[in-house]
């Protein structure tokens, strides 16, 4: 004998399954083909084949900020960039700059090299204060 509740439960389940499975079966290929059939995406995929990939990054100068004492165009660039770095500090981080300008040359250079290496302002600020307190 089947429990009435079970019988009651089985009937809607079987009724429910058909439309759900049907919907999934219909929706699945639609969702898969959505990306493939999106004409914009398709055109983008075609267009990207025309692009010549490549990098113009030399990859070796990123971490170098040579001392300002020596001569040459690269050093002139470094000096100018250091000047712009100091100008940026002066304008945007006045407190840090007030400590920075009291540092000895080697510490300033160290801070600038760190800046060149992509250190965050927070770590630069810490370094400046550290070098100021522990010269």
């Amino acid at each position: 004998m089947i429990h009435p509740k079970l019988r009651f439960g089985r009937a809607p389940l079987s009724r429910c399954f058909c439309p759900v499975v049907g919907a999934v079966l219909i929706a699945l290929p639609l969702s898969v083909s959505h990306a493939v059939d999106d004409p914009y995406l398709q055109m983008l995929d075609e267009e990207v084949t025309k692009v010549e990939g490549g990098s113009t990054d030399t990859g070796k100068e990123g971490a170098t900020a040579r001392p300002a004492r020596t001569r040459g165009v690269q050093d002139a660039q470094a000096v100018t960039s250091r000047k712009s770095f100091e100008a940026m500090l002066r304008q945007q981080h006045v407190g840090t700059y007030s400590f920075y300008r009291r540092l000895p040359e080697r510490s300033r250079e160290e801070v600038f090299v760190d800046y060149g290496n992509g250190a965050s302002m927070e770590s630069l600020r810490d370094k400046v204060v550290d070098r100021y307190l522990h010269p």
Partner: protein
């Protein structure tokens, strides 16, 4: 006696004249050296300025962290350099590659290269900003602007509850609000609580500033991404659109990188 005196006078005059001549010679020589010095300095200056093509006046280059390494962003230092290849093309099939308006939405600001340099040096460095390459991955793989991360525009067209979209929004510093209490909602509705950067689902108060870009003025990928972000509720004032994109970036001969991963 007179003759002696005359001789001494004559001798004194002679010495004075001699010193005068020496003085004239010294002044002349100093003058010549100065002129030469000025010319030499001028030559050096001219030589340096012609060799150096800076990003902007007073800023020859900048550094940006890309995939954990420092990349030097600078312009091609060859004055005869000409752009070739795909990004030198002036025309593409329209639609879909039509010229875009200056901004995809009035709440979003458009920026140029100088503002992007500033963004790279400050907000990107401090972690308060994200530079988004909104192109599909295949484009990203061909080369990107240093410091960019790839969030394809297709991501922002997904449903609001899509886990990938939710993860991306969270990575930009937004917080999910969950259930908002009745009192809090009331206060916000009355304007007593700051709801400027809040939606029903998200709190964008601490959300980062975003700069989105794609292939250039005739590319619709980043405008679509921006519209998707606005639909989610991301505040327009925290979004910027670098309309020049890869095309203008390359036109200025600026550094590009190929992603490693």
């Amino acid at each position: 006696m007179t003759a002696e005196i005359d001789a001494t006078v004559d001798c004194g005059m002679g010495k004075k004249m001699d010193w005068l001549f020496r003085g004239v010679w010294i002044i002349a020589l100093v003058g010549v050296f100065q002129v030469c010095g000025v010319h030499a300095a001028d030559k050096v200056q001219v030589g340096e300025t012609t060799q150096l093509i800076p990003l902007v006046a007073g800023k020859p280059y900048l550094h940006v962290v890309h995939e954990g390494r420092s990349v030097k962003v600078q312009r091609v230092q060859d004055p005869d350099y000409e752009l070739k290849g795909y990004f030198a093309k002036t025309g593409r099939k329209c639609p879909p590659f039509c010229i875009q308006p200056v901004t995809p939405d009035s709440s979003v600001g458009a920026i140029g290269e100088v503002e992007l340099f500033d963004f790279m040096e400050n907000k990107l460095r401090d972690g308060s900003g994200v530079l988004i390459d909104a192109r599909t991955e295949s484009w990203f793989r061909k080369g990107t602007i240093p410091g960019s991360v790839n969030y394809p525009f297709t991501l922002f067209g997904k449903g609001r509850d899509d886990p990938e979209l939710v993860a991306a929004i969270k990575s930009f510093g937004a917080k999910e609000r969950g259930e908002v209490g009745a009192t809090e909602k009331l206060l916000e509705d009355w304007g007593w609580a700051d709801a400027r950067y809040k939606t029903e689902d998200w709190d964008f108060s601490m959300a980062k500033d975003l700069v989105l870009w794609c292939n250039g003025p005739a590319c619709g990928q980043s405008p679509r991404a921006i519209r998707g972000l606005l639909d989610v509720g991301y505040p327009g004032e925290k979004i910027s659109y670098y309309r020049g994109g890869m095309q203008m970036w390359q036109l200025w001969g600026l550094t590009t990188v190929v992603p490693r991963q």
